[in-house]
Symmetry: C2
Subunit: 327 residues, 2 copies
């Protein structure tokens, strides 16, 4: 009996690895199991931890305080989220914004009767950025909110480029437009179009014999992904792609520009500058796993989001310590 919070990881990719690493920074938690759909023997974890087949996960009910779901939002979580919330307290980073309401309902229907807490859509966006959008409009009801992303690698947009015929490899960076950020920070509350807020920088490796002009045209005119942006395409070698674009930086800003009283300008800004996007998301998941465990101990059951979690529950410190040291 260590008294530590027992964590399981479901799905071991970049996010799962980040969670393992974040748990090792948290002295009140321990990682008790990793679950994978791959052959458990083929999964190489960072530290010594048992790896089990995902199919065996139900056997671990009662041995895990919180299961952190590290699968993808597109194919894994819509199925795993509701299924696993029936067995464990869970935390996930479901990030398909438009589908959050239906995902919430599905997870809630399974977590609530089972007496489990399921914290959905935890990370930085959705997650910490969402919280700052909420604080912004709740505190400054007369004003405008802005979210800028980047400079950062966008996995979805990189994938979209890779599907263009003639493309062998690619990465895409989303870059906030400095001038737009400066205008918002000044308290000017401008109306900004999609094109005015972000540019998209693509680094592309061509297949042997592919037509560069044709590939570029296919990228910059791609609806939803690129057509509404100023997009630049730079062709590079496979070596340069591997050498210069292997990191996963990201970040961004949430800015609320409002006015109070007789027109006093008030600007609230939250920003993240991340060398590793998945590792940071994992660190947020782990702090919220602590909160999920405590909420469940208080008798809470059902789906919840960052909006429902008292911030103090994220910290290993006691309420009295927090008041003394951080308030």
């Amino acid at each position: 009996m260590s008294g530590k919070i027992k964590i399981g990881i479901a799905g071991y990719g970049n996010l799962g690895r980040g969670v393992e690493s974040a748990i090792s920074q948290s002295s009140d938690m321990e990682l008790v199991a990793v679950f994978s759909r791959r052959d458990p023997g083929a999964v190489k974890t960072l530290g010594p931890v048992a790896v089990h087949a995902m199919d065996d996960i139900a056997r671990f009910q009662g041995e895990i305080d919180v299961l952190i779901l590290c699968g993808g939002s597109k194919n894994d979580l819509p199925e795993q989220g509701p299924a696993l919330a029936a067995l464990f307290n869970t935390v996930d980073s479901f990030d398909t914004h438009a589908k959050i309401p239906e995902y919430f309902e599905a997870v809630n229907q399974s977590a609530e009767p089972a007496g489990n807490v399921a914290l959905i859509s935890v990370g930085w966006d959705p997650g910490l950025f969402s919280l700052n959008r909420l604080f912004g409009e709740a505190i400054l009801p007369e004003g405008a909110s802005y979210t800028f992303w980047g400079k950062g690698l966008s996995q979805g947009h990189s994938d979209a480029i890779r599907r263009v015929p003639g493309v062998k490899g690619a990465v895409q960076y989303t870059v906030p437009v400095d001038e737009a950020v400066a205008r918002v920070r000044s308290g000017a509350a401008p109306k900004l179009s999609t094109r005015e807020k972000h540019t998209r920088e693509c680094y592309v490796v061509l297949e042997e014999g592919a037509d560069a002009a044709q590939v570029e045209q296919a990228i910059v005119t791609m609806p939803d992904y690129f057509a509404d942006y100023d997009t630049t395409v730079t062709f590079i070698t496979a070596e340069a792609l591997a050498r210069d674009h292997g990191a996963m930086p990201h970040g961004g800003f949430v800015i609320r520009s409002g006015s109070t009283g007789n027109g006093s300008k008030q600007v609230m800004e939250y920003s993240l500058t991340l060398e590793s996007n998945p590792e940071f998301t994992s660190s947020v998941l782990v702090a919220y796993a602590r909160a999920a465990h405590r909420l469940n101990q208080q008798g809470v059951a059902g789906a919840r989001t960052v909006f429902d979690v008292p911030p103090g529950l994220l910290s290993p410190k006691t309420p009295a310590q927090l008041r003394k040291e951080l308030l």
Copy 2:
């Protein structure tokens, strides 16, 4: 029966006026009464609202959902906080950091048996900055936290200068040192002394015949307030003081610089740029008054802080709306 949250204001200075103004921006709230220790007939409010003598406040039990305490931390709140939390749900901005634990206990002992919620130390520091210090260390346990204040008018330091013999009027601005902020933002996690973080700029009007050099020396060597800082003193006329230094701007930054995984640097930053410090603090108080009312409706009683409040309770929107629109 308007269905609106009924707010009372106890103490009508800069903060009380800001609360009145912030309530007028919140369609789900109404201001029902202002209480003052001055002659009620002499209190000029911004809008049409009844002003009553503070001594009559007990008669309004049951007519006010939340009372916002707008007195000072030094002389008013230590007495009013516990006394009024026995009668009403309360929100205050008690900001004497070192005395928060004892103030919390005193208010809790009075609020809890009465079945009232008392949210103490609400504002931006303590308040929003405290929350960001908590998020920083909970999410990035390996790292360092920094709080910078300013550029902003410090009331306490301005008062300290005014007590120096020979000083007729004065204001003091706290200014973060750009170079220190830049080093912290870079993720360098430097050790910074008090002197390296902030400078203090004083604008002073001398009494007729006062010795400028002597006044300057008395200011820059004043222990606790100025001795540990690089302090500049500029002598100005009474006209310039009135003309150029009447506003109450403030703000600052909370930065967490941490590392995850194999040394990836991660930087979280929260910043405020405020044209009116009291109006912004008032806007935070009003959003938390909404939360205090809802917590009390849920059956919560006793003293609480921003660490205990689920952020969703600050918004007039429903949980489903928040998930759909802001998550």
